[in-house]
């Protein structure tokens, strides 16, 4: 069937889909070797004081149900392939938020023998949230920036073009 993007019903469906997606973002969390600092702050965003559920954001266990992948840590050699697998298991459209200094540059662990360097060397990242660890407010702000960017039907944020090697499942 040929779908013409100018048709009214296509436009309406797209709008409804965007509305639904932006109001119920499900996030999956992956720790790729971080020190826990970022992870407990991510959990803190779910709890009553910060309460991200008011934006419809929910932490989800399975990557197959998730829209956003939140990654912390400098990507250790062993966690790398699992990170790729988790990313590949997520349905499109998917977005990646990298939280913490070491997920951006390796941080204090730069040069360690078992550490890759940064998350964006492995998978494409949409939002970087710096800090060691970033405050819960910063994490919420990062995700909300992503949502506002997508709200008006914008394309995904500009990012480095990357070739992602496929993992043999």
């Amino acid at each position: 069937m040929n779908i013409n993007n100018d048709q009214l019903w296509v436009k309406v469906i797209k709008k409804v889909r965007a509305w639904a997606r932006l109001n119920s973002i499900w996030a999956v969390h992956f720790n790729s070797g971080s020190c826990n600092g970022c992870d407990i702050e991510i959990l803190a965003t779910l709890t009553p004081r910060y309460d991200v559920e008011r934006f419809g954001i929910k932490l989800e266990g399975s990557p197959r149900h998730a829209d956003i992948l939140i990654v912390t840590g400098p990507v250790t050699r062993q966690a790398r392939e699992r990170l790729l697998r988790t990313y590949e298991q997520m349905p499109e459209p998917k977005f990646v938020v990298s939280v913490g200094s070491c997920s951006i540059s390796g941080g204090v662990f730069q040069g360690c023998y078992n550490v890759g360097g940064s998350v964006d060397e492995v998978i494409p990242v949409d939002v970087f949230i710096p800090g060691c660890p970033p405050r819960p407010e910063a994490i919420i702000d990062g995700i909300i920036q992503l949502l506002t960017h997508l709200k008006d039907g914008n394309p995904r944020p500009a990012r480095k073009e990357q070739i992602i090697e496929r993992v043999v499942a």
Binding site: V28, H29, F30, N31, S32, G33, S34, C35, N36, G37, C38, D39, I40, E41, I42, L43, A44, T47, P48, R49, E60, G61, S62, P63, G73, P74, T76, R77, Q78, A79, R80, E81, R82, T86, C102, G107, V108, F109, G111, C112, Y113, N114, V115, C132, P133, R135
Partner: protein, 558 residues
């Protein structure tokens, strides 16, 4: 018996094999013995219940010295006996195993093997502990002459070998859990073999968070390392920095001012409250009790506020500097701390009531994962996990350090040893902490916050032990008189407590497993270093997904 007599007793016990005895510092005995006598010497200490094996430190003294060392540290209250074994640095450095005498030693021995290339004779397993699966053979990262170029991935192997799809044997099935966890926020991979609902074998693979910090420490200077060690674990970052700076100060013979010591204890106490409340929330979440999770995390924000007010950061607070602390507690903070503690105390009493009376929660905790006193001793458990079984392992009580001599803490123990007891121990500990913190705030000694530290730390070696929220944290620090440490060995409490999960999961329902894992308050970032298998899964056989499906169809035709 005081610690002098303890050390004399140890010296007498070891007299037959001891080649050279030194007392490197107060409360320490260093006995050099031959590798062949190791098992006899270890049995002598073990059979008389002289303390417990706290850690095994391996060291490579470099190609010039041509020697390797293995140090077996036994702790008995404040007294520490170190068995030192010196071996020539050849391609085949071997040590006899002691895991049949002291079962928890197996983790330490496998670490020796993997990091430094000691061959453990008679050891049950030489499997990878925390180094990736594609790491080349015969390359050991903690050897002095290790270069990062040597660690090229081996062709045809994956860093993280995946489990076989649907592994079954007989009526058994393997359930893989992790490393990306729905509830637990840290990476660890578990495989539970189940027969119906009952777990028949358990194994795990860690190392997803292994970063190689001990090696990195050797190339950074003393001050840089403080911030590196703080980031070993974000939950107990102060304790790591505390143990490290305490050790370095001992080496440099610097006396930390009383006020700084009191503030260190204060921050450590607040950190304990934050860590235990966090743990309570996670455990409640595993039990499906999300209301308690939300409440305890809401109250935890009170402590986070206090930590932020004192040090300026919520996590990784960097309260320590070498030679003191950098954050002062003024009248304003003192008032806030007291108000916060008053609020927390009422809440903790409430939680204590909840975990001991709520029927639903008790169904998940009472009588589950019970560890007896003898088992706790045999497994070498530490911290609240041991104290729940009546075994008082608490460095703050056994060997008071820093300000704990001035503001002592009373040890809390429970006798039941099940998950309920572990909840109760931790919550009661918080009440003790609240009381102690109030005393500190009221009686904060006057004086400076820091003393001057030399840039270069004099040559020597020391052991620094600190009670982390999860148990005894052990630091071995060696200096050769330069700006960098020669070797820092860290043994974290989670490493010793894993056995409690794997041993206790076998024979239980699969549904209890998340609670058991949460019950010991694991910290992967801290320990990340082992894989172990408990139970019998001998008749495992690999089935493809297709075969499994056909088997399922056939099964239901009947």
């Amino acid at each position: 018996m005081n610690s002098e007599q303890n050390l004399q007793q140890a010296e007498q016990l070891l007299a037959a094999w001891n080649k050279e005895t030194t007392h490197p510092e107060a409360n320490r005995l260093d006995a050099t013995i031959a590798a062949d006598d190791l098992r006899l010497a270890v049995s002598a200490l073990h059979n008389t219940h002289w303390g417990y094996l706290s850690a095994i430190t391996g060291m490579d003294l470099g190609p010039d010295a041509g020697q390797m060392e293995a140090l077996y540290h036994f702790c008995n209250g404040p007294a520490i006996t170190t068995l030192r074994i010196r071996l020539p640095r050849t391609s085949d450095v071997s040590l006899p195993t002691i895991e049949d005498i002291i079962p928890p030693a197996t983790f330490f021995e496998r670490e020796l093997h993997e990091m430094l290339g000691f061959r453990i004779e008679g050891g049950k397993s030489n499997e990878r502990l925390f180094i990736p699966d594609d790491w080349p053979e015969d390359v050991y990262p903690l050897r002095e002459d290790f270069k990062i170029e040597q660690a090229k991935p081996v062709e045809g192997r994956h860093a993280d070998e995946l489990p076989d799809e649907g592994v079954v044997g007989g009526n058994k099935f393997v359930i893989p859990i992790g490393p990306q966890h729905p509830a637990l926020k840290e990476p660890g991979h578990f495989e539970f073999t189940v027969d119906g609902e009952i777990v028949t074998a358990a194994s795990m693979r860690l190392g997803y968070a292994h970063r190689g910090i001990e090696k990195a420490a050797e190339s950074r200077n003393w001050i840089q390392n403080l911030y590196l060690f703080e980031r070993i674990c974000g939950i107990c970052s102060h304790t790591h920095a505390y143990a490290y700076s305490q050790g370095v100060e001992k080496l440099a013979q610097v006396e930390v001012p009383a006020r700084a010591q009191a503030i260190r204890e204060l921050v450590a106490g607040l950190e304990r409250i934050h860590s235990h409340l966090l743990w309570l929330g996670v455990t409640a979440h595993e039990a499906g009790f999300d209301t308690l999770f939300m409440y305890s995390w809401r109250d935890r924000e009170t402590v986070m506020n206090l930590l932020e007010q004192i040090t300026g950061n919520r996590v990784n607070y960097s309260a320590n500097v070498l030679g003191g602390v950098k954050a002062d507690v003024g009248p304003e903070q003192a008032k806030a701390i007291k108000e916060g503690l008053n609020y927390l105390e009422t809440r903790i009493r409430h939680y204590l009531e909840v975990v001991t009376t709520d029927t639903m929660f008790l169904n998940r905790t009472r009588g589950i994962g019970t560890i007896s006193y003898e088992e706790a001793e045999e497994f070498g458990l530490l911290g609240p996990t041991a104290r729940a079984s009546g075994l008082l392992r608490d460095v703050r009580v056994e060997a008071p350090y820093g300000a704990y001599t001035r503001f002592p803490i009373s040890g809390v123990t429970e006798t039941n040893g099940d998950l309920e007891a572990r909840c109760v121990v931790r919550l009661k500990e918080l009440l003790v902490s609240c009381f102690a913190l109030r005393t500190i705030v009221d009686n904060l000694p006057e004086g400076p916050l820091t003393t001057k530290m030399p840039r270069k730390v004099p040559a020597g070696e020391t052991i620094s032990r600190v009670e982390a929220p999860r148990g005894e944290l052990f630091y071995y620090i060696k200096s050769n008189g330069t700006e960098h440490p020669a070797r820092v060995h860290i043994r974290t409490p989670s490493l010793c407590n894993w056995v409690s999960v794997l041993e206790k999961a076998v024979g239980r329902q699969l549904a209890d497993v998340p609670m058991l894992i949460a019950g010991m308050d694991p910290c992967f970032s801290c320990n990340d270093r082992l894989v172990t298998t408990v139970g019998t899964s001998g008749d495992r056989k690999t089935w493809s997904w297709k075969q499994l499906r056909e088997y399922g169809i056939e099964y239901y035709k009947r």
